[in-house]
């Protein structure tokens, strides 16, 4: 549904589109243009089926928000469906539906994006609508008052009643002192309760400009015809100076941090997050981010990967385990390990098992065969990912938003293939240390449930 708060992880890089070794073809089939108003256009030709994905990406996400107004990027995303001077509230979705389109939008920490997927002959119609709301959004206060209620319901659904989300929210707010990554994308409830229509309008006026936008179009299209259409519809918007972006650099962490969250659940959960480097635009030769990505995959990239094998299958200390690392993003990065406890096991036991597994990587390194397995997966995914036109547009857009070029994707994938077991060992040893570690624990609380009282719950303890 509208707004999925996407957070791109290692898996996205692996499982979605691009074109490594497709160097020759991927690049030949991808075209980049810039309009005089600063809007960037990227067209990926893929003629396998007569459909098109049309996306506009604004480089404005929750990391651009300030305290007291958290969640406004996402709220504005909702308001973008509430009418322009020409298209009244709700009409946008009706018009897209009429041409058989699928549409939605999502907000992340780094950006906000809108998309439609249509049969190729309908592209002009949805482009016209999307371009219109880049400049002419005009919602009234009554619409805002209803929609902010919807957003609060969204927060209740995704976070308030979801212990894993609460844990993640606390983890981020604890790991970061200063970086705006400490705020949830959906916003703190209190900020939502106090948000005004004018906050959303200010956000729109500040960031929704052609010079802050990238249009990505993938599918059965002719790039020259596309450029003409984009100039016609998006070319009328005028560039404007964007607000000053303060760096908001996170101070260096100097020791372990711990946080506990009490929430209704049956099992304890544990999340460990280390501050780690990311890839910097223009410095694609830095080995460490690639090594960290491969480390994440060695730990959790397939069914027999290290943590699943030792913690879930052999030691049976946790019920499941997941590892995440985003090599590219606008803000700072975490290397994250999340688990839920197996029955009768404590978070202390799980933490100790995780530390042991990581120490083993640090001390003894990894096998060449483990790394090769991960690299084969990366290569085969290069072919699989081309099955999805939408996925290809997603990858291009998210890469661009992180400050990289879509052209860098191939370079990154090639670089990934050159990483050695020793380099993976080195980053494990160097970065997965207590100085930059935050540990978050979900302390499960009994929940009042009629099901329990009715004796229907044979699954209860």
């Amino acid at each position: 549904m509208r707004s999925t708060l996407l957070r791109f992880s290692f898996y996205f890089i692996l499982c979605c589109p691009s074109a490594w070794a497709a160097t020759d073809v991927g690049q030949a089939n991808t075209h980049e243009f810039q309009l005089s108003n600063g809007l960037k256009l990227i067209v990926r030709e893929d003629h396998r089926a007569p459909t098109v994905a049309h996306m506009v990406w604004y480089r404005a996400g929750s990391m651009d928000e300030v305290n007291g107004k958290t969640g406004v990027a996402h709220v504005l995303e909702h308001m973008m469906f509430k009418g322009t001077n020409k298209v009244k509230s709700g009409e946008f979705s009706r018009l897209v539906a009429a041409v058989g389109g699928r549409e939605n939008a999502f907000t992340s920490r780094d950006y906000t994006a809108y998309f439609q997927q249509v049969e190729k002959s309908k592209l002009d119609e949805v482009m016209k609508l999307e371009a219109d709301r880049m400049s002419n959004l005009n919602f009234d206060d009554a619409e805002f008052l209803k929609e902010i209620q919807v957003v609060m319901e969204e927060r209740r659904l995704r976070t308030e009643d979801n212990p894993s989300s609460l844990l993640n929210e606390s983890l981020m707010a604890t790991a970061y002192m200063s970086s705006p990554y400490r705020h949830p994308v959906v916003g703190w409830m209190n900020d939502l309760m106090n948000m005004k229509a004018v906050d959303a309008r200010d956000w729109y006026r500040s960031w929704y400009k052609p010079n802050n936008a990238t249009v990505v179009i993938a599918g059965d299209v002719d790039p020259k015809a596309i450029l003409k259409a984009v100039e016609k519809y998006y070319g009328v918007a005028s560039a404007r100076e964007l607000p000053d972006r303060k760096p908001q650099i996170e101070p260096v962490q100097k020791g372990i941090k711990r946080v506990q969250v009490k929430a209704p659940a049956d099992n304890a959960q544990l999340a460990m997050a280390w501050k780690v480097p990311k890839l910097q635009p223009g410095k694609l030769d830095d080995d460490e981010p690639y090594a960290l990505e491969l480390l994440a995959a060695v730990l959790d990239g397939y069914d027999n990967a290290r943590l699943n094998r030792t913690l879930v299958k052999q030691e049976r200390v946790v019920n499941d385990v997941g590892v995440g690392y985003d090599m590219i993003s606008r803000g700072p990065e975490l290397f994250l390990i999340s688990t839920s406890m197996a029955k009768g096991k404590t978070v202390e036991q799980a933490e100790s098992s995780i530390r042991k597994a990581l120490k083993e990587v640090g001390d003894k390194g990894i096998l060449e065969s483990e790394l090769k397995r991960i690299k084969v997966r990366i290569l085969s995914d290069q072919i699989y990912k081309r099955d999805s036109i939408f996925g290809q547009a997603m990858e291009i857009g998210s890469t661009e938003m992180a400050g990289f070029s879509w052209r860098d994707i191939d370079v990154m994938l090639e670089k990934m293939q050159t990483i050695t077991p020793a380099q993976v060992q080195a980053v494990a040893k160097k970065y997965l240390v207590d100085e930059g570690l935050t540990v978050a624990v979900l302390d499960p609380q009994a929940r009042q449930s009629g099901e329990n009282k009715q004796g229907d719950n044979r699954a209860a303890k």
């Binding site: 074109a19 539906a97 209803k146 919807v150 319901e153 009643d161 209704p264 397939y302 029955k343 084969v376």
Partner: protein
């Protein structure tokens, strides 16, 4: 690197195919392959990418679970990944996982109400493809069902079940199924006890009884010739028995019975910020002639995303919920019709009222002419998006085969949508749904 060359070749293949496919918009035909081991097999050839997607549907879903061993079909399916006897000897769970990873393949089993589904995605190069097929063949024909692994997995499932009991959406779903399915086995959900009752022998027996050729359908989409596809089917099923002992008939799947109004509603107190509400009843099979009128009608009612009536009444006009929708889930069995939403716990009564009256009015009056036109326009114009990659094609082929639909279903789909009339929608909704037959489950509601 093993795959480098392959990928370079793949890139060239794409470059060549691009030109040829640009003008071709005809829907790719489904080819029926000769039956093997009693199994049906179907193929759609797509040459643009050097990959193959395979799906094996097995008539071995949750509906065959004995009540006291609810979860049996799911455990039997899940453990197929965790050890099998191949022609080369015993494969451990670690060996299977490593082999899948080394091939750059995806291979897994999932189990739903009606069928168990094994999915394989592999590169089409013959040596890689053959190894993936061999591996799948071993899992399909001779899983080991090791007792130690079973004990571990039972423990994991139990923990997950107990966790699920603390989640509003899971508790609602279990209770809703129990309410609507009556005597049909899908009314039961796995419990700690029913999982505890499952032993390794049960898995062996279940597998022997249900995983056989005459209960399987193989669907293949991708870069293979018809001859190669036949080889794949034969490779997958070579060691699968063609048939077996007779299987007890499932209880009759009945329409949700008419009951006194006072028993329609189940109220579950639950300490959550939101109330979760589900409403529905059993409805139609996929082959029912009312399928298309219901599909088109439900788009208007609650299936059409942001433009549906439920969305408009509940979310757009009143801001009561983030998501609200309705759907039919027809299969070989009469699947359910279900509508649902989540709302702040103190406004549950209002939200339920709006949802009920919206559905009730729709059943009574059907869509307006303009709503019907809009629904048909969306479904017809949007049809290419339902078949624009291998994965989606595979879903379509598999569903067509599973539900015994005509092989030209994809070609005539838009015509069937276009042919739907207002009267048909209204009649179909009135024939298959009735407010006084729908069960309602409300979890976590609080009075103001």
């Amino acid at each position: 690197m093993l795959l480098n060359e392959l990928i370079k070749q793949a890139s060239m293949t794409i470059a060549l195919v691009v030109g040829m496919m640009a003008s071709a918009q005809a829907i790719l035909p489904i080819e029926k392959l000769d039956s093997f081991k009693g199994a049906q097999a179907y193929l759609v050839q797509t040459k643009a990418l050097p990959m193959i997607d395979i799906e094996i549907s097995i008539d071995a879903g949750d509906r065959y679970d004995p009540a006291v061993k609810s979860g049996l079909a799911t455990v039997a399916g899940r453990l197929m990944n965790y050890g099998a006897r191949s022609e080369r000897g015993l494969l451990s769970e670690a060996q299977i996982a490593d082999e899948i990873a080394d091939l750059g393949a995806n291979l897994g089993v999932s189990v739903g109400g009606e069928r168990a589904i094994m999915r394989i995605r592999t590169l089409s190069r013959k040596d890689l493809r053959d190894r993936a097929v061999q591996l799948a063949s071993a899992m399909l024909s001779a899983p080991t069902y090791d007792a130690k692994i079973l004990a571990r997995e039972k423990q994991r499932m139990t923990t997950a079940l107990q966790e699920a009991q603390t989640k509003p959406e899971s508790v609602l779903d279990r209770r809703f199924r129990k309410s609507v399915y009556g005597n049909y086995p899908l009314a039961n959900s796995p419990t700690v006890q029913s999982i505890a009752n499952i032993g390794a022998t049960d898995l062996q027996q279940f597998h022997k009884q249900f995983y056989r050729g005459d209960r399987m359908i193989v669907s293949i989409v991708g870069d293979v010739t018809k001859t190669e596809a036949v080889e794949i089917v034969q490779g997958l099923l070579q060691r699968v028995p063609q048939s077996g002992s007779p299987i007890a008939k499932l209880p009759e799947f009945e329409r949700s019975p008419v009951e006194p109004f006072s028993q329609r509603e189940v109220i579950i107190p639950f300490d959550s910020q939101q109330a979760h509400i589900a409403m529905g009843m059993t409805a139609v099979t996929r082959s029912n002639p009312d399928y298309f009128p219901l599909l088109v009608g439900n788009y208007v009612l609650g299936g059409g995303g942001f433009v549906s009536r439920l969305m408009s009444e509940v979310r757009e006009k009143r801001g009561l919920a983030y998501s609200v929708s309705s759907y039919f889930a027809p299969g070989k069995d009469a699947g359910i019709f279900q509508a649902g939403l989540q709302t702040k716990s103190d406004q549950a009564a209002l939200a339920l009222d709006v949802m009920s009256s919206t559905i009730s009015q729709f059943i009574a009056n059907g869509p307006t002419p303009s709503e019907l036109d809009a629904a048909k326009a969306n479904l017809v114009n949007g049809y290419p998006l339902r078949i624009d990659n291998n994965r989606k094609l595979l879903d379509n082929v598999s569903s067509i085969a599973w539900n015994n639909l005509p092989l030209d279903t994809m070609e005539v789909w838009t015509k069937q949508v276009e042919a739907v009339t207002l009267e048909q929608v209204k009649a179909a909704f009135q024939r298959n749904l009735a407010m006084d037959r729908m069960k309602i489950v409300v979890l976590g509601a609080k009075n103001k």
